[in-house]
């Protein structure tokens, strides 16, 4: 069975674990660097990106995560998407710099502006409820990046090679299509290596 980790430094870990298990893979909450070794893929959950980054730096996770991402699939949601971006608007530095895109944090406004909206996600399906909580969006993407979904002309989901990201929270609904899509990506990546 595929083994997928959920970075468990802070945020909506439990929900991602449940969604991965419902999508037919084994899920592990990852708190230490050494837990990355036998994983086939990794999810970076929603939470507060500044808090997560502090904990990533503290435990030398940054280099290990970058190394892991060289050949293993990674899926980031909300704060996880921010961690994956090469560029963050208004900031001089980014975090893991995995996906060739520029993101804007809290781009839809404060919590009172948080919302739910119906989305169409390429390769995943229609009538998908996106839950956006103080969400970022993707301002622009490089040529290698495939845009999977837009909401009001703003990019909210994308894919680059074995990296997947969403500005909304698939873990907060019981619609597991996006997690199933990621599990397939993990399966494919594993077959290629084998």
């Amino acid at each position: 069975m595929l083994k997928i980790g959920v970075l468990a430094l802070q945020g909506a870990v439990r929900e991602h674990v449940a969604a991965i298990e419902a999508s037919g893979a084994e899920a592990v909450a990852v708190k230490r660097v050494d837990q990355l070794t036998d994983l086939d893929g990794l999810v970076m959950p929603g939470g507060e990106s500044t808090a997560m980054r502090r904990l990533i730096d503290k435990y030398h996770f940054l280099e290990s995560l970058k190394k892991f991402a060289q050949n293993k699939p990674v899926f980031g949601t909300c704060a996880g998407l921010i961690l994956m971006a090469k560029r963050i608007q208004g900031q001089d530095t980014a975090h893991l710099e995995l996906i060739d895109m520029t993101v804007e944090r809290n781009a839809f406004g404060r919590q009172v502006d948080s919302f739910e909206a119906e989305l169409m996600i390429h390769g995943v399906g229609e009538d998908y409820t996106g839950v956006f909580i103080r969400a970022p969006f993707i301002v622009e993407v490089g040529p290698e990046v495939e845009i999977l979904s837009k909401h009001n002309d703003r990019i909210v989901a994308a894919k680059q090679g074995h990296f997947l990201c969403a500005a909304f929270h698939p873990e907060l609904t019981d619609d597991y299509r996006l997690h199933q899509y990621f599990v397939k990506m993990v399966q494919t990546a594993k077959e290629v290596v084998a």
Binding site: A8, L9, Q10, G11, A12, V13, R14, E15, K31, G46, G47, E48, T50, A51, R54, L55, K58, C78, A79, R105, N106, R110, Q111, V112, D113, S114, F115, E116, A117, E118, V131, F132, I133, R134, H169, L172, T173
Partner: protein, 294 residues
């Protein structure tokens, strides 16, 4: 169709705070220290609970200047406190764009009979609770997040432990009960039947439950996580300590790695003197903030 203020969006915001520390701050400088230390949110206040306790008199919503200063200083969510039952303070905070409102017993209640109907608001609310009855009543009113009341501003963890143990024990009892016993339990707890039924079916509360009220050390924070808290609020503890920056970072790490005892030992070194603390039995009933609200 775009929908704001849904239950999922309001509760989801609290889900994103899980495993994190929410810190009380009274100005922009403290807010920035908290953010840099890894706080998942800050609570903007005019005075921290221990100072409210010392000052006495009526404690109200903070001066909007302070709240605005904090809103502009950080990118993490900003919470603020409104008095229990004070509809206008809550609406003012919502209009200012605060991310979460704490209907808080730390402030002097504006209404001794009625709590706010929190489902009416777009902004989410967090409320204090000492037991499952109180927790369920707040959920039914629309609270999107709970916290133990503890005894704020005392630096004494004993009440937060009591409230967390009480709530967790009562949840286990409800889950183990047969459904035909639930209405009597609802009557005994003063809890809405529907909320208890939800808890029974899900095996847990439908909202996130943090620990608050008396957390003074990294070990206190880890203890509350061990007892089943989803995260912690630290009020007076941080900025009343000798080295707030170091103290704040230590609390954040202890909360994430609450079962890594070697690490907690390291984190607890040379933090300087923690808050002096108050023995709860020396507080007269009128001085106990946890007895405000019902």
């Amino acid at each position: 169709m775009l929908k704001t203020g849904t239950e999922r969006v309001k509760r989801g915001m609290a889900e994103m705070q899980k495993g994190g520390v929410i810190m009380d701050v009274v100005n922009a400088e403290q807010a920035r220290i908290a953010e840099a230390a890894g706080a998942v949110a800050v609570m903007a206040l005019e005075r921290v609970p221990s100072d409210i306790r010392a000052a006495g008199g009526v404690a109200r919503m903070a001066d909007p200047t302070i709240t605005e200063e904090v809103l502009n200083a950080v990118s993490i969510p900003v919470m603020a406190k409104a008095r229990i039952g004070h509809i206008v303070e809550a609406r003012v905070l919502e209009a200012m764009g605060v991310d979460y409102i704490d209907e808080s017993e730390v402030l002097t209640p504006a209404d001794e009979v009625f709590h706010l109907l929190k489902s009416d608001y777009t902004v989410p609310f967090v409320c204090g609770a000492r037991d499952l009855g109180e927790a369920s009543r707040r959920i039914a009113e629309g609270a999107s997040m709970l916290r133990t009341k503890g005894e704020p501003g005392t630096g004494n963890i004993v009440e937060a432990v009591r409230h967390m143990r009480m709530i967790q024990g009562q949840i286990r009892k409800v889950v183990a009960m047969s459904e035909d016993e639930l209405m009597t339990e609802a009557k005994n707890l003063g809890a809405p039947f529907e909320v208890l039924l939800q808890i029974k079916k899900a095996g847990k509360l439908p909202v996130v439950n943090f620990a608050a009220g008396g957390i003074a050390t990294p070990a206190d924070a880890a203890l509350m996580m061990e007892l089943g808290a989803d995260g912690v609020f630290v009020g007076s503890g941080i900025f009343k300590s000798e080295n707030p920056e170091k103290f704040a970072r230590a609390i954040v790490e202890a909360t994430t790695h609450y079962q890594d005892y070697k690490l907690i030992a390291e984190l607890s070194k040379d933090l300087g003197t923690a808050m002096k603390g108050i023995d709860i039995s020396t507080l007269a009933h009128g001085e106990r903030m946890q007895e405000r609200g019902w």
